[in-house]
Symmetry: C2
Subunit: 186 residues, 2 copies
Amino acid sequence: MGRWEPNARGRLEQAALELYGERGFEQTTVAEIAKRAGLTERTFFRHFADKREVLFAASGQLEDLLVRTVIEAPDSTAPIDAVAAALEAGGAALYHERARKRHTVIVANAELRERELVKLASLASALAEALRRRGVTDLAAQLTAEAGIAAFKVAFEHWVNEPDEKDLPQLIRESFDELKAVTAGK
Amino acid sequence: MGRWEPNARGRLEQAALELYGERGFEQTTVAEIAKRAGLTERTFFRHFADKREVLFAASGQLEDLLVRTVIEAPDSTAPIDAVAAALEAGGAALYHERARKRHTVIVANAELRERELVKLASLASALAEALRRRGVTDLAAQLTAEAGIAAFKVAFEHWVNEPDEKDLPQLIRESFDELKAVTAGK
DNA sequence: GGCACGATGTCAGTGGCTGTCATCAGCATA
DNA sequence: TATGCTGATGACAGCCACTGACATCGTGCC
């Protein structure tokens, strides 16, 4: 096991998810993660900014997908519906088992929940920016994006918590319908 | 300056806000804050769970105010309007100058922005719980609360960034109006 | 074979945060 | 007034996340 084993980053992600799941986030040291991946602590921090970030490596790709979907929506599509379509597409790209495992680790620790909020806020920012490029007002873009993320969040939580696996895009659609109802004063 | 000077907690808050403003959050050590307050580092951590929390001591009171306002709203009030009323009341309780100073410190640092998201999420949770006690469905309560917080967030940012001071509750009302418009597909 | 470059290892250091125990102010009570 | 109790603070040692600096190793290219 010399240096240069392939996919150091992926090995670190795998080792971290395992250890966080086995003994908890706080009870795991970065040195242990690195050791399981056959690397050193210093190398861990070359790949990830901090101990939490290793769980959120995929969020950048998700962001790209959302932005692309909003941009590619027909001009006639209302902003809220473009955001809904993007989040449904994002939801369709998630694997239930992996998402559930990861979510279990995250909800068990305050620092990880905190970081997840940052990632969701980042998604909202990206969605808002994409809407602005469609000519949507700044205010409307921010509100649409934030409200959309709220709908996604609620749907996602139901998805990972319900015993019988449902279709996430379908749950997202229902969540948006409910959002429209409550903001209409229902 | 023996022990037992009054209001240790308040002195720590004041010293922290000053130092974070003067030289930045990262460039300030907890030992320095404690020293300026005439205390030791260990005592700082007896009053605040971590270095960031010292800036968010007031958020608990704000949460109480929001919850109370939702609960006291007339039964006939729609959930979204009860939330709007609560956030307007919360907005009315903020002082522009102090809020601006604090917000400047927070936006300048990623860790502090992260913590602020946690506080906003906590407010959303509390609002949702208050709505549930009014008999609102779980799903509707979560969505209403989250969307309401989004409206507040947008209004608050405008308030602290606009050069001419506007009325925060008024901005919040306008933000809710816009929220209702965009979720209606406008 | 030699060389450039990027990935990794090694080491020392800073600072956030915690556990533990000693110490001290204030208060009650004998 | 002495004594004892309680809660806040100090002092100290220690863990670990994270960083900077420099050495070392692999790989590809000439």
